[in-house]
């Protein structure tokens, strides 16, 4: 695992998100109203909607396509919906945000090679199988 820089914290709007491209994976980097920073794959577990474009409220985001509400801490869909989006660790240091990504992705980024982890906009996955779903997806890459 590697930490990659995601630019200055000031570039993230409060109650908003921006996209970080690592290889050809899009990571949505969120900043909540309370100032917390979270990173999720920019891909709703429902139909693959870009979560970075959603409305951020509390520590949740509402997907712009069909209003699924995703928990930013866990990546889990909330309410009666079931599904999970991979999460990444995020930290703020000296006013800059960095995100922890698997080596495979980071190397691809360094070499300018596209990693093959396009958003799997398939049907929702059952909740039981979703522990550490972040890693599972990337280990294949």
């Amino acid at each position: 695992m590697r930490w990659v820089d995601a630019g200055p914290l000031a570039a993230l709007p409060a109650r908003g998100a921006r996209v970080l491209r690592v290889g050809d994976t899009s990571i949505a980097v969120f900043r909540t109203g309370a100032g917390e920073v979270y990173a999720l794959r920019d891909c709703c577990p429902h139909r693959g909607g870009p979560l970075s474009q959603g409305i951020v409220h509390g520590d949740r985001v509402t997907c712009p396509l069909h209003d699924w509400v995703i928990d930013l801490k866990s990546g889990q869909a909330t309410g009666a919906d079931e599904g999970c989006t991979p999460t990444f660790a995020a930290r703020v240091h000296d006013g800059r945000v960095s995100i922890e990504v698997p080596d495979s992705l980071a190397t691809a980024q360094a070499a300018g090679i596209a990693a093959s982890a396009a958003c799997a906009a398939g049907p929702r996955a059952p909740r039981a199988a979703l522990d550490d779903c972040a890693l599972a997806l990337f280990e294949r890459a």
Partner: protein, 822 residues
């Protein structure tokens, strides 16, 4: 340390309060529940289907014992509370158990009334209240042949029907000449009686029971006139009485029931009461819907929000007898100054009566066709003026220019495979299964679990009917007051009033003043608040970008693959070679995959990458093209036909007028999208009569039509008025749009808004009140000063640049090995 909460009464009302409390403040209390029945909590209103062998006990359990364990709640089932020691704040129960409390909820329910008849204690005489009663009746039905039910009210008839289905020969003895006389008038009562007689029930009425006969076990019933009927089982179902015994014994003020104030507190402020044991503002309730409203208030206060108030309920009733559709609500007995609207079709067995006073519904009785029960009930509770549609009201909502809330088809007769929600592909069977297996009670819960009715909302009526039908009838779905969203207890109207009255000019200020329950709202309330403030304080309120749906933030329409669509404004649908060339150049330069002509006489560039949007707009802007707002809750298009300049039938310059209208109104934000049209003659080629506002030109002037839409459910416009000049068209149009902006709920289109407030209201404000119209017109123009700025030009020049660009990392050089300081 958690405070201690004790609930006395493990029924629907008390447990509902606990569940609401767990939602609001899961950790706040250590909860102990006492129930006199030896079960978990069950849905009492479904006992009748159990008796009629249409459901099993397991089907009607709401909270199993495991549920109590999971939530850390101590359940003492089958243990009566004998005493409340209020001084020491301890509850005493059978077997010497003592439990201390900081707060107590009394939910002791009600007891069946037992008539003081000779023989009332004989084995074989039962009342109808709980699972034990149902078990006794089922056992009796196995052994005996004859049953007598005393009481022809709701419960009595359901008991009679159930026993008859279990093979007994049932006679109902009723004191009054009309069945269910508290819910039905005599005409509907007679229809009901006839239909139950066809199913094999017998009725003796009016008739009074004198004695119950038998030595060891009941053998029959003797009536006042001396006649006798054989009986192996006698069910007394003559009413219920609030059970306030424990409260009275503990010195808490009671009359018929336990007295409570609007926060459901008894005279001892540590003790709340909820449900059928309660007497609130002089009323006791025996139906589920009011109990749920009370439970919400109790939970709100226990969670120390302290802002809920219960102000009483209007109730409606439905009979749970399979195949009999019956609905009643409000006061249907009539009286001075009331009128009755009646529809009768004896051959189809349909009877509908509405009692109306001052053009508002006061009561409703429906028999045979109850599809519109929920609608009439809503009109009753809202006190809606029905003058505008009373000539059609008895035919139901489907026969109005219905804008999407109706469920016209009889949902009960649909097969399980019938698709109810077309947006999400949810069938009737899915919804019914979710309601029964997941114990859903509300429309919101069904939406959350099945997605039905959660997208366009046009099937809401059908889903509500399914809920009512599946849960059994005396359940009523729609709460009298609908909060904007779960973040607040206030309605759209209350919030708007507060924004204006309290001069709230920022979202945090509004949330603080209105005591929002969440730190920064949700995707439902923030966009609504943003619009309400924008509308109330033009020029002062600073638009909150993060509270806008992505389309209005990115000024394009997000597509399913995350790209955007770009629709430049084409004024009145008239374009030029220069504009077309600019659009073609952009389409080629940015590899736009699809170029499509829209229904609103414009051109849509589909599949533009977000990063490209500002430069696409810059290129379009160079040719004079501006944003078409095709993405917003805003003024969209003004569709026109060619009018008298070219058309041989044209009466006025419809194209020119359309362009003037669009130049005046573009850029305005609204509760929902707004579309206008101008047709040059009554042939109406611009389809003006399905627009939010349509102008139909005639030789002598301009007809204005309002409240149409071609959307989910098509609605033709209502005729507003006719005016003589183009200037008047513009003034009336802007005043109407401003009224809509100021009065409609966010995400309510003009069609449902007009159906809600009534065309008369709109006509009074726009046509009859000339000075009021001019004021509205002036407010619209004032607001336009600030909104007629092309958002594309601004962003092509660098505004909100971060919205359209990905994050720029310093590079991979900044990488370090993970596992260090996190």
């Amino acid at each position: 340390m958690s405070k201690k909460l004790v609930l006395v009464g493990n029924g629907m009302a008390g447990m509902r309060a606990v569940e609401e409390l767990l939602e609001l403040a899961p950790e706040m209390y250590d909860i102990t529940v006492f129930g006199s029945e030896p079960h978990g909590n069950y849905n009492r209103i479904l006992l009748s289907p159990v008796l009629a062998s249409e459901k099993k006990i397991a089907d009607i359990m709401l909270n199993t014992r495991e549920w109590y364990d999971e939530h850390g709640i101590t359940l003492h089932a089958g243990r009566e509370v004998t005493k409340i020691d209020r001084a020491r704040r301890r509850v005493h129960a059978e077997g010497g158990l003592e439990v201390p409390y900081d707060r107590l909820i009394l939910a002791t329910g009600s007891n069946p009334v037992v008539l003081p008849l000779p023989g009332k204690e004989l084995p074989g005489v039962v009342s109808y209240r709980d699972i034990a009663d149902v078990d006794r009746m089922i056992a009796a039905a196995r052994r005996g042949k004859h049953a007598v039910v005393i009481g022809g009210g709701l419960l009595g008839l359901e008991a009679a029907y159930g026993l008859q289905k279990r093979g007994m020969d049932v006679t109902v003895v009723h004191l009054m000449p009309t069945l269910m006389e508290r819910q039905l008038d005599s005409a509907a009562g007679d229809l009901l009686r006839r239909s139950l007689e066809q199913r094999g029930l017998k009725f003796l009425m009016p008739a009074q029971t004198a004695a119950i006969l038998g030595a060891e076990h009941v053998t029959g019933v003797q009536l006042k006139d001396g006649s006798e009927i054989p009986a192996d089982l006698v069910v007394m179902a003559v009413g219920i009485r609030p059970n306030a015994t424990l409260a009275k014994a503990s010195g808490i003020a009671c009359e018929r029931g336990v007295l409570v104030n609007d926060t459901m507190q008894t005279f001892d402020p540590r003790i709340y009461a909820v449900g059928e044991c309660v007497q609130h503002r002089g009323s006791c309730y025996g139906l589920v819907a009011p109990l749920f409203e009370q439970a919400k208030v109790v939970a709100n206060h226990l969670a120390e929000f302290g802002i809920g108030r219960y102000v009483g309920s209007q109730v409606s009733t439905k009979l749970k007898v399979t195949g009999i559709d019956l609905f009643s609500a409000g006061d249907f007995s009539g009286g001075p100054d009331t009128e009755e609207l009646v529809f009768q079709d004896p051959a189809r067995g349909v009877y509908k009566k509405l009692v109306v006073k001052d053009n508002k519904i006061r009561g409703a009785v429906l028999y045979g066709d109850t599809v519109d029960g929920a609608w009439y009930f809503q009109l009753l509770r809202d006190g809606t003026q029905i003058a505008d549609f009373r000539e059609n009201i008895l035919f139901g909502q489907a026969h109005l220019g219905d804008s999407g809330l109706g469920g016209a088809a009889g949902v009960t007769s649909l097969p399980d495979k019938a698709e109810i929600c077309g947006c999400n592909g949810v069938c009737k069977g899915d919804i019914v299964r979710a309601i029964t297996t997941k114990n859903l009670f509300t429309l919101d819960a069904v939406r959350a679990h099945t997605k039905a009715s959660s997208s366009c909302g046009s099937c809401t009526g059908l889903v509500e009917q399914l809920l009512a039908h599946t849960l059994g009838g005396d359940y009523s779905e729609t709460p009298a007051k609908k909060p904007l969203c779960p973040c607040t207890i206030y309605t759209h109207e209350e919030i708007r009033q507060a924004v204006v009255r309290e001069k709230l000019k920022s979202i945090p200020a509004a949330m603080q003043f209105l005591e929002w329950k969440t730190p920064d709202g949700c995707h439902k309330c923030r966009p609504a608040l943003n619009f309400y403030m924008l509308c109330a304080w033009p020029g002062e309120y600073l638009d909150d970008k993060q509270s806008r749906f992505i389309n209005e933030r990115a000024h394009g329409n997000i597509q399913r693959d995350g790209t955007y669509s770009v629709v430049p404004r084409i004024w009145g649908g008239v374009t030029s070679p220069k504009e077309l060339r600019a659009i073609a150049d952009v389409a080629e330069k940015y590899n736009v995959p699809t170029v499509k002509v829209t229904g609103g006489q414009r051109i849509d560039l589909l599949g533009v990458k977000k990063e490209d949007l500002p430069s696409v707009w810059r290129d379009l802007g160079a040719a004079g093209l501006v944003s078409g707002h095709a993405y917003g809750k805003a003024l969209r298009t003004v569709k026109t036909c060619v009018g008298k300049e070219w058309c041989r039938f044209g009466t006025q310059d419809s194209t020119g007028l359309g362009i003037k209208l669009e130049r005046t109104t573009w850029g305005s934000w609204h509760p929902h999208k707004v579309k206008l049209a101008v047709s040059g003659c009554p042939r109406n080629c611009a389809e003006a009569t399905i627009k939010d506002l349509g102008v139909v030109c005639v030789e002598s002037g301009y007809e204005l039509h309002v409240g149409g839409n071609g959307g989910i459910k098509i609605r033709a416009t209502d005729f507003l008025c006719k005016v003589a000049t183009e200037e008047e068209v513009i003034e009336y149009c802007c005043a109407y749009l401003q009224l809509y902006r100021e009065e409609a709920r966010y995400l309510e289109r003009t069609a449902p808004w007009i159906e809600r407030v009534g065309l008369t209201h709109v006509r009074e404000r726009i046509v009859d009140d000339a000075s009021g119209r001019k004021v509205l017109y002036a407010r619209f123009l004032e607001s336009q000063k600030y909104s007629q700025v092309d958002p594309w030009a601004e962003r092509a020049n660098g505004k909100d640049a971060e919205e359209f660009t990905p994050l720029e990392p310093a590079g991979v050089a900044a990488l370090e090995t993970a596992g260090g300081a996190a």
